[in-house]
Structures are given as structure tokens and as C-alpha cells.
């Protein structure tokens, strides 16, 4: 596979993934770009991977998590200095969903994002995140319970997907 093909197939997905994980369009664009640059620099070895897309997702997720932590510190600093340190309140239901996702612990956030955004199965999510399937299911179950509670919706997932 050529890098250009890889890029055209994956970059839009990475923007979506980063946007879901950060909620900030500018950050999403930058993080996706950062991931694609990493892939470009390491292309000879990335190209050889069985699942370069899974690697790219991990890179993007890790970058988004780092951004999240850094942003959290920034918000805390603003709060200490007298600001409210809060982010913009979500307006649409879709935004509410992702805001609730971003409130989850790191691992659950990553699992939920991959599971929903890319219609991935538990098995594929496990591969992308280098987790056992059981761990994915556990995280997914816990995440869904938290999301259902936060959003006031029902959840009848059995975890057998």
C-alpha cells in the first residue's frame, strides 16, 4: 500500500476519532495530522505491519488522551486563576453523547470511541487497542452503564457482539 492511499483512507477517520475524543475541532485536526505525520515518518515499518490502521488508531488515541490530560490541567489552572475552567456546554444530543464519553476513564473512552465510530466488533476493537477481548467487553460494559446513566437512556447490551 502506498502512503497516499493510506492517508486518504485513514485521515478523515482519524479526524472523526480525535474529534470524538477531544470535542475540539482545532485539536482534532491537529491530532489527526500529528498521527499521519508519525505514520509518514515511520512509513517503511508501518507499511510492513499487518494492521497499520490499528497502529494509527492507537497513536491517535494516545495523542488524544495526552491532549485531554493537558487540557484538563489547563482548565484546572484557569479555574485556580478565577475562571470557571469549564468547557462549552454541549447543545446537540450527539454532542451530549460525546461529552459523556469524554467524561469516562481513558480506557473506557478509547474502547467506546473505536467501537461506535468505526462499527468495529469487540474483536476488532481488541486488536486495535491490543487488549484481550474480555477486557474490551468489560470496559465496554462499564462504559455503557455509565453512559446510559449519564444520558438517561436504557441499555440492554448483552456483550455478545
Amino acid at each position: 500500500m502506498e502512503y497516499d492511499d493510506f492517508f486518504r483512507a485513514e485521515q478523515p477517520k482519524m479526524v472523526v476519532l480525535a474529534l470524538a475524543l477531544t470535542g475540539v475541532p482545532e485539536a482534532a485536526r491537529d491530532l489527526a495530522q500529528e498521527s499521519m505525520v508519525k505514520a509518514y515518518r515511520a512509513w517503511p515499518s508501518v507499511q510492513q505491519m499487518d494492521r497499520p490502521g490499528a497502529w494509527l488508531r492507537r497513536v491517535t488515541i494516545n495523542a488524544s488522551m495526552s491532549w485531554h490530560r493537558s487540557h484538563r490541567r489547563e482548565a484546572a489552572a484557569i479555574a485556580r486563576m478565577g475562571g470557571d475552567g469549564s468547557t462549552v456546554q454541549p447543545e446537540r444530543e450527539g454532542q451530549q453523547f460525546w461529552a459523556a464519553v469524554r467524561a469516562l476513564p481513558d480506557r473506557q473512552r478509547a474502547v467506546v470511541a473505536l467501537y461506535y465510530l468505526e462499527d468495529q466488533s469487540v474483536a476488532a476493537t481488541a486488536v486495535a487497542l491490543e487488549m484481550p477481548e474480555g477486557t474490551v467487553k468489560t470496559n465496554l460494559r462499564m462504559a455503557r452503564a455509565a453512559l446510559a446513566l449519564a444520558l438517561g437512556v436504557s441499555d440492554d447490551w448483552k456483550g455478545s457482539e
Partner: protein
């Protein structure tokens, strides 16, 4: 009511639409190319940092080696008032690591690098960093913007050296505090462990701002529990911090290691217990072999894994083992370095002789003693080995795993193993059994054997038990005493006792099955109230009980804990209610 999946579907469409407005693919692709070209041309960012890191790595080794040569240096008239002064030069693209003689560094094959250590600043090569040979230094950290951080652990004047484009600043550390180790998370957060007297403290420096430490954890969490284990950095015997995916965790090596010993031996029950800061923990068993030993330093941190280096004396090989967060391990065997070089402490290459990055293990070794100790020049060789990756098959569960069990094995011994073969293996791992019972079942009904008390799937049974905090038993069965083989195992324990067994997932006695995604089926019958059964993915049968819930109420999953684990064929008591 809207279901969560309906909500999610809507949210996915929403975020995709929003992303479509900002994902200009062609512009971004052009941006990637221009950014990479810019990097290559200007030697900024990663390339420069990597270059400097490599250079610093070698200098780090040099600095450590200087500690060893300082005595010799002093005896031939070394100055007593040296200070730290960095180079003013900046490497250019493609330039090898600077050295006094022909500088060679072949990334593919790994080749010799030559350093010069001097006693006077004036003698120092202008293209090399020069460090106070009386100090020890912990491994360099390189921030995402290319700054290099180095912890100086000098007893007289500890501090942080921050090298930024050739300019160095120094942040002193209270001399009563001993800097033990440091690591950097991917977001440039630096964690450092200090000790004061015998107490350990973990501090955090946000954004690598070394002037603003924040206490993360104190001695209540970091206290060394085993008095026989020291906190010395040379062997990192007791408590080592590791950066992990932006977080931190601690490694305890509960081995008997006399203070000051250089090479801790691995015995049958050595394991690494990793305590994550979020409260979870996982155990990694080292590979089997009482003859094995750890090459110091044994542990390295990566963003997503722990790397362990284990030297095996018998086959003259050395393993690179990557321990992954899911509890699995991958291994690659590499040629053993000459022992006299690798482990000779007189070189004091110490912590700098090995370096691991995300893809490779680098080994730095001094090649001759004379070059090290009688002159100011030391010759090092560098070799590089690719780390095993997650694509490689997992390491088979080591037989040295004292308590590791599965649906088909006990402590690494597979079900089906003959008694005579299994017994010494189990004794090597578990020690001598404290109970040894035999039984013969006299009545055969539909292929199952019975006696007055219990039933079994074989006519003859022998059961060996070990008692640690709780009990674990190996069950042997066969059609004759001569045909006994391992057919099952079982273990029971109270919810508050440390478990003698654990599954590869980390599940053990006293734990909550729901935490592992395991559903428990309640036992039927009033006298069985609160009891339950479950099975793990790998075939381990679980017995459970309820804690903290009023009898009769539906227990919360978090209130159900494992009280028994078993697998294979074990004797069944007759007339059991549950």
C-alpha cells in the same frame, strides 16, 4: 425511551458531519509532506531530539563510566572543583555522534563509539557534553520539544540539568533528598522518585517544568515492605517506577536480595507485581530457571509495556521480554554479552549500558579494561536488537509461575503430566507439599467411581496440597497407582486472604468476577443462599459467595467474590447441597 445504541448512532452521524467540515484531506496530505521535509531540512523536532538523545545516551554512559575512573583520575592530579558545562555546538543533519576519534555509529548494525573523558574542562572535546565525573546521572529524558533533562544524583549537589539547544540551566535539589529515578510520560509530564532516609516520595513535574514539583504519592504508598530489600538504584531491587501510557505504576520485586548485592538471583517463585496508580495490580512471572538471573538494570519502561532483560546462564543466551498491559509477555532471545564486560561493576556503566526505546534495545559495553581505567578514554561498542512485538506469539506461561493456573494447567504443569514427572516440577515451584492423600474408589457406576464419601472419574486418586495463605491442591488420577497423572487442581480461600493462585487474566481468590466480565449463576436452595458458580473463558471453575449484602436480597455484582477455583477432574463429595 431512547436506547443507548440509538443515541450513539445519532452521535456518530453528528461527529462525522462535523469532522467532514474540518477534514481537508488533500491539504493535510500536503501538510504532512511539507512538515516532514521541513524537519529533514532543519533538523528540528524529532530528528534533532533523537540525535541528541542518542548522543546523550552515549554521554550518559560515559558519565557513568567516569564515576569509575574518577579515582584513577584523582590520583593523577585531577581537579577538585569541576562543574558541569555542556557543549555549545549543535549537531547537523546526518552527523554521527561526536567523539574524539573517527565517529562511527551505524544504526543498522551498531558499531563502535569512542568517547573521551577529561579531568579539565579545557580538555573536553567541544562537540561533547562534559559532566562532573564525581556525580552519577540518571537516564536522560527528552521532551517533545527537544529539551534534555538529566537528573544528577550527586550526594553533595543533586539537581536537574536542563539542556536546551546547547544552553544548560540547573535546578538544585535539596541535598537531603536522594533522587532515585525518573521517567517521562508522553505528554512531557516528568515523574521522579526521591527517598529521604528510608521513605520514598513520588513527585510530578507538569510539562517538564523542573522547578515546580507536585507531590503525587508519599511513603504510605511507597514504603518498602520487605526489610531485606533495599532501595538502591544500582540494582533497582525494590521499587521502581515505570511510566505507562501517560500514567505511572510501580514495580515491586519481592525477592530476597541482600542490600548491596549486585545480581539478584531468580528463583522459582520470583515475580513482578505491578501496582498501578489506579489501584489495580498485575503479576508477571519471570521465565523459569533457578539458574537464571536478571541483568541489571532489568526493567525498562515504554509507553505501552515493561521490558525485562533476563540473562540465562545455561544456554548463554539473553532474553528480551516485553510485558504487556494485558498480562501477556513476548520474548526474543539475543546473544549473551561477554559476562566480564556486561556485568563488571568496575566499569560502572551501570544504568546507562542499556537503553530501550519504542522499538529497540541498545546495549553499550566497554570493550577493554585498560582503556577504561588507566586512561581517560573508554571504548564502547553499541549493539541494537529489535524488541519483540505484540504480533509475536505470547510467551508460554512459565513453569516457574508459582500460582498461575488455567483450565488445563497448575503452575505451568499441564494436566495429563505423569505423576513422576509432575511431582518434581511442582515441588520445584511450590516447595514440598504439606499434605499427601491417597484413595481408592471401589464402586463403578456408569463409568464413575465411588466410595463412601465421594466420587471421582478414576479408580485411584492421589492428592498433594500446598498451603500458602490459602490451600492449593494437585489431583492425580489413574486406573492404577502406576498410571497416576495430573487430572485436576483446586484451591479455596477466604475473601480476605491473599490468593495462592491466579488466572492469566489476573483473576484470583477474593476478587470480583464482574470485574473480569464473568457472570455468576446463583446456587439453588435456601442453604446455598449467597453461593454461586461461574466459569472463566479458559475453563477455570469458580465458586463464589456474597459479601456485604443482606441475605435474601439480590447481590450487587461487586459484592460477589471468588472463594474457590478449580479445573479438570477433582473428587466430588457425595450429598452436597449446593
Amino acid at each position: 425511551m431512547t436506547s443507548l445504541d440509538e443515541f450513539a448512532t445519532m452521535a456518530v452521524a453528528d461527529v462525522r458531519a462535523e469532522a467532514a467540515q474540518i477534514a481537508d484531506t488533500e491539504a493535510a496530505l500536503a501538510g504532512v509532506r511539507s512538515e516532514v521535509q521541513l524537519v529533514a531540512a532543519a533538523l528540528t523536532s524529532t530528528a534533532a531530539a533523537h540525535n541528541r538523545r542518542r548522543r546523550f545516551l552515549t554521554v550518559g554512559a560515559a558519565a557513568a563510566a567516569c564515576v569509575a575512573v574518577v579515582v584513577a583520575a584523582m590520583t593523577i592530579g585531577g581537579s577538585n572543583d569541576r562543574t558541569v558545562r555542556p557543549t555549545q555546538s549543535t549537531p547537523t543533519a546526518g552527523e554521527p555522534i561526536p567523539s574524539m576519534s573517527s565517529p562511527i555509529y551505524d544504526e543498522t548494525t551498531g558499531s563502535q563509539i569512542v568517547f573521551q573523558f577529561t579531568r579539565q574542562w579545557e580538555e573536553c572535546d567541544p562537540t561533547a557534553y562534559c559532566l562532573d565525573p564525581r556525580s552519577s546521572f540518571i537516564a536522560p529524558l527528552v521532551t517533545s520539544d527537544g529539551r534534555i533533562l538529566l537528573g544528577e544524583t550527586s550526594a553533595r549537589s543533586p539537581g536537574w540539568l536542563i539542556v536546551d539547544d546547547g544552553n544548560t540551566t540547573r535546578v538544585p535539589i535539596d541535598p537531603s533528598w536522594r533522587l532515585r529515578d525518573a521517567a517521562m510520560a508522553p505528554d512531557d509530564t516528568v515523574y521522579a522518585m526521591f527517598t529521604v532516609a528510608d521513605e520514598a516520595f513520588l513527585y510530578r513535574y507538569d510539562d517538564a517544568d523542573m522547578s515546580s514539583p507536585v507531590l503525587v504519592a508519599g511513603p504510605e504508598r511507597l514504603t518498602v515492605e520487605d526489610g531485606s530489600v533495599s532501595l538502591d538504584t544500582a540494582g533497582k531491587a525494590a521499587t521502581t517506577k515505570i511510566d505507562y501510557d501517560g500514567g505511572m505504576f510501580f514495580v515491586r520485586r519481592p525477592m530476597n536480595r541482600p542490600q548491596g548485592a549486585q545480581l539478584p538471583a531468580i528463583d522459582g517463585d520470583t515475580f513482578f507485581q505491578v501496582d498501578f496508580l489506579d489501584g489495580t495490580s498485575r503479576q508477571y512471572n519471570v521465565l523459569p530457571g533457578g539458574d537464571g538471573r536478571l541483568a541489571a538494570p532489568a526493567l525498562y519502561s515504554l509507553q505501552n509495556a515493561v521490558v525485562l532483560i533476563q540473562a540465562l546462564q545455561f544456554d548463554e543466551s539473553e532474553s528480551i521480554i516485553v510485558m504487556l498491559p494485558d498480562g501477556t509477555m513476548r520474548e526474543r532471545v539475543v546473544p549473551l554479552l561477554p559476562e566480564s564486560v556486561t556485568f563488571a561493576q568496575r566499569f560502572s556503566v551501570g544504568n546507562e549500558q542499556r537503553f530501550v526505546d519504542e522499538g529497540y534495545l541498545y546495549l553499550l559495553t566497554a570493550e577493554t579494561t585498560s582503556a577504561c581505567c588507566t586512561s581517560t578514554t573508554a571504548v564502547f561498542s553499541v549493539r541494537r536488537f529489535a524488541l519483540p512485538t505484540a504480533d509475536e506469539p505470547p510467551v508460554v506461561v512459565p513453569s516457574a509461575a508459582k500460582g498461575l493456573v488455567s483450565g488445563t494447567s497448575l503452575a505451568g504443569v499441564d494436566l495429563g503430566t505423569g505423576f513422576d514427572e509432575a511431582l518434581p516440577m511442582l515441588q520445584r515451584i511450590q516447595g514440598d507439599q504439606y499434605r499427601d492423600e491417597s484413595a481408592e474408589y471401589t464402586d463403578n457406576v456408569d463409568g464413575k467411581w465411588f466410595n463412601d464419601d465421594e466420587s471421582f472419574s478414576h479408580r485411584f486418586m492421589r492428592q498433594l496440597c500446598w498451603e500458602a495463605s490459602s490451600m492449593v491442591c494437585a489431583v492425580f488420577g489413574g486406573e492404577s497407582v502406576e498410571q497416576l497423572h495430573l487430572v485436576g487442581w483446586w484451591s479455596v480461600g477466604g475473601p480476605n486472604l491473599p490468593s495462592p493462585v491466579y488466572a492469566s487474566s489476573g483473576l484470583a481468590l477474593g476478587m470480583v468476577p464482574a470485574d473480569f466480565g464473568i457472570e455468576v449463576t446463583p446456587a439453588q436452595g435456601e442453604v446455598c443462599n449467597g453461593l454461586g458458580r461461574a466459569e472463566t473463558d479458559d475453563g477455570i471453575q469458580l465458586d463464589t459467595t456474597v459479601i456485604g449484602t443482606t441475605v435474601g436480597a439480590t447481590p450487587a455484582p461487586a459484592d460477589i467474590v471468588v472463594t474457590g477455583m478449580s479445573a479438570g477432574e477433582i473428587p466430588q463429595k457425595s450429598g452436597g447441597d449446593c
